[in-house]
Subunit: 342 residues, 4 copies
């Protein structure tokens, strides 16, 4: 039994307020498939925060599902999606996008982000009928490395998409961490402004389960619900997710929880730095990537759960530490006490 | 606002005991992807009830998903699934099976059930390479018409499958209603004995959400978890479903709830009969299909939610009334009071 | 060794003029992928005959391929194709359409043709998001039973398609037999006028191999060549098919060959009638479906190749006899001599 | 009009002997779908040359089709194919493999060949259920860069496959050039010995069209014909391809033609070297990749057809020159005369 898991941000079920909101529903009856009043209230709240009164809002059960349903719907039969090589869809989804029939074209990442120069080359090359046709750009905000696209970067990518006639999809499994970060200048409305579609992750930020897939581009609306059913993504009890999003966004709880995760990661990160270890890269949200000696790692793994990300050199490795909305300050203190100075 | 919804059995969130079980988890940390201890306890309980100590148990979020993930995994690229024309996969899943690349070959149903004679003809015909190759038989227990396969019928289908070298998949979205019915001689272990794979539905019988997909045939195990991820069906918080199944199966709550739904349907059915209406077919579980005059239907629809199933004759139609684990006796009384005598 | 095969219309390689045209190409060099001058001449000829100067013309290798590439391109991810239950795509293509992810919704045929009443019911029913969305109507001209849609029937189907916002695809594997039939009032231009896309079959009417897929609807053009490559349907030596279509359509050889097949079938049909046998249905092109006693069939099968189509009654069966562009008159005479009077 | 096309090896229709063989078939009737006697003779010849008396032999129409039908059949739903980043399936087939639902995992090529070290790393990494499961290794012989795997290299890859439980598929679109090369120690039987499946390309080596897909591994046989139909790859007139392979392999014409292409490329390559230009890489078969100044390229492109492969430096580029079974010696002389000395 570990003292604490820093493996990911879905190790705890959900915020107590979510359980309470679920409990209050009792045996009241609701219409199925998100056609109920509570889901509609959640939709209204999200539209308001996004400043998109006509956006489509669809409650789904998980992140891989949101990616495959969103991208599978946006792509034509010859279409491919462009992603950073670190993109979740390119690695950790067991070929979910390819299983919808589409290639993921990758460009080398820069701190987990898309590089416009590399994308430009890829697009220039892909103007031939024997190659797949890039149709959608995929990015994660925050990224798989915990970094955060700034507003100007997102606008640059949107301009790029417009120039090359591409749609933009944003994986927001950790969108809360991105908008709640002290270094971030991006709000929900900014993301809704640049993306054709994206999702707001509940699973990793206080919900029991569920993601809200947003279709901003009105061309994506017609038929989407049917597609979602076909892929097994439409929940009979849509209201079970709707009520959670209503709770999380009613008074800003969602952002508060994300802020806690980020702050806790900052404390962790600062402490590791003070102990004399370098960071593999700057911390920007709730993921910390320190470089530690292999024997230190071995000792720590007896006490804590976390992933070794990659080899750094002969003697050291990069590890990933993730904090969540629920991580107690004392667990960070414990970790820092158990980590010997460099 | 309706007095009551008889539209389906997923209009109420879940049994209070489920909420309580979720609440008790607090901020305790669990391993992801159903690798946690609570899920393992739920798995052990289900294996015990099924009398299959080695069965694979996989927690998914919904019924269409369970069907497409199960069948998509069982079929080879040339394989087709054989189903009754009333089969859920053939009608109400927006082409989910075809989207996995496979044809659904249908035979005319008999009271919602598969007809062995019709299947025999289909199999005899499909022995040519220019036709799809039937590889899996699909049935729902209870069926889409609320009927229940008896033990001998299931054994007959299993024998048929063995003779034609077919696998058997059972949609158990309403498996509780089937095993808890007073007319049923089928237990969970009987279903596990005949099926290569099936699922135990939580969504329609007291759980907040979630289905348990069971792979009885050991050949289906290797690689299945990866396939489940690929189709967006593996939940990061598998324990959120695991804890519900543990609660529902720990002391037989699952069967108790199904029994309530069935009993309530019987009361409803008897009452309708006493008022002088005929049934489109015998009631066997929690679905009732009376034949009512169209003007009566129009009046009732102002008060109650339910579906008109099909036209019966010029003046009458078949309607479907579904009761659930939560349907109060008084709502049935209300309905019967509001229904004028024939 | 049979005296003659009446099994199908692709038992003979091709018309001698086609071989000669191929031979005249020598080692002259051509651009690949149908970008050559000869293919462009063939395209111009076909556009002229179809009276569609802007139609897309794509040379493919076979009929199943033309169906799956055409329909796969026309359908959105939620789309289904509507076909008669006798439709080639529903039966004899080993699930090719489903393998592209789409359901084939069937209506009972009437003499191998689509029935508008049945289609109307299907469309009315399919206005729900949980069902697949019919997007394309499929028909074969001539049909799988050798019958031919009259001009007014095609126009009726086109009107139906417009009303229900459907596209129309026509399988023209035997389009020659349809337009060259004495009972037909349909020309190539009529087919091009009603269809969004169709194909002109070479394989069954004098070509060595190859079909010309026609996209009449300009919305289908952009990206189609890339899709055709993706499905393995684009031939490196497109000119090998182009030269054949140029030869077949330059001076009407295509129609002449089809007329021969039809006339030969008529002789065969008349002779069978004179011997006292009934027809399962009227002959309209190059397929004849007489009803013969089972013992007569058994004797004939020692001498001739043909398919037993289906059981007619206890003692008799329907057989299918197909004539081709190459069937010699004497083989028909032989067959009629070998067939005992009823 | 160019003096000559060095763009590819499918600019000329076919060897005259092939046309003659086709012509000799006249209007003789044959069974469909490669069940005819001539195809069976061709099958016997190929089995003999491959020294695999039980190999499956399937005649298809083109290379992309052979790749997608072969790999689509070999892969399970979670399976991925491992290829060099230069692999034809990864680039020039418009996403054909992904359209069958499978990811192409790439490793950096070494002279167009697979690198075992890179593959080892990829396999070690891919032992997690959230990643795709490598199941098949893909290579081209000769490669897309004209290089040729030596016998020991193929054996090394086979050993690697066995160790990691992978199947091996070989794209033999230019297999003739590989076995007929003066630098090659590989025979057809060697390829059949290491591969689970591969294809022998006709299109690029003297046939009018057609490839012979070989299934060496007997586990791949059952059901393959049905899959081939489903993907539109089975030709009604299989005998039209069968007769060509019989002709090409009856007396070694296939190898003779490949030798001519290779020899012609050698002459071209030597001449370019004598004029003082460097090669981007060694020539091993019928493809030559010289580095030429951009202005020289511009002049040559007015006279000859060929592709600019990639930028070499600011002033020079790599071009690709391909010779074929039909390239006349004088065209090479012309080219060398028109190419100014460095």
């Amino acid at each position: 039994m570990h003292k604490y898991r820093f493996e990911n941000d879905y190790s705890e079920l959900c915020h107590p307020a979510v359980i309470e909101a679920l409990g209050r529903m009792g045996t009241r009856q609701f219409a199925g498939y998100s056609q109920d009043v509570i889901s509609q209230e959640a939709v209204a709240l999200l539209r308001d925060i996004m400043e998109k009164p006509d956006a489509g809002v669809h409650f789904l059960s998980g992140g891989t599902q949101a990616n495959l349903v969103g991208l599978g719907w946006m792509l034509s039969p010859i279409g491919a999606v462009v992603a950073a090589d670190t993109g979740h869809i390119n690695v950790y989804e067991a070929g979910a996008i390819e299983a919808t029939g589409h290639k993921v074209c990758t460009v080398p990442h820069r701190l987990g982000k898309l590089d416009l120069g590399a994308m430009e080359k890829l697009l220039e090359y892909h103007q031939q009928e024997e190659l797949v046709t890039p149709e959608v750009v995929f990015l994660s905000q925050s990224t798989e490395l915990g970094t955060i696209y700034r507003k100007s970067e997102l606008e640059g990518i949107r301009t790029f998409c417009d120039r090359w006639n591409l749609l933009l999809f944003i994986d927001g499994a950790r969108i809360g961490a991105a908008v709640a970060s002290d270094i971030s200048d991006v709000q929900m409305a900014d993301i809704a402004e640049v993306a054709d579609a994206f999702f707001i992750g509940g699973t990793k930020n206080g919900a029991l389960f569920g993601e809200a897939l947003i279709t901003v581009n009105p061309k994506l609306d017609k038929g989407f619900r049917s597609f979602s059913r076909q892929r097994g993504a439409m929940l009979a009890k849509g209201y079970a997710v709707g009520v959670q999003f209503r709770e999380l966004f009613r008074d800003g709880l969602y952002f508060e929880l994300a802020r806690h995760a980020n702050e806790t990661a900052r404390t962790l990160c600062d402490g590791i730095g003070k102990l004399g270890y370098r960071l593999w890269q700057e911390r920007e949200s709730n993921q910390v990537f320190p470089v530690l000696p292999n024997e230190v790692i071995a000792e720590l793994q007896k006490l804590y759960g976390f992933y070794v990300w990659e080899k750094y050199d002969k003697d050291q490795s990069v590890v990933r530490l993730v904090t969540s909305w629920a991580t107690p300050a004392e667990k960070v203190d414990n970790f820092l006490s158990d980590l010997p100075a460099a």
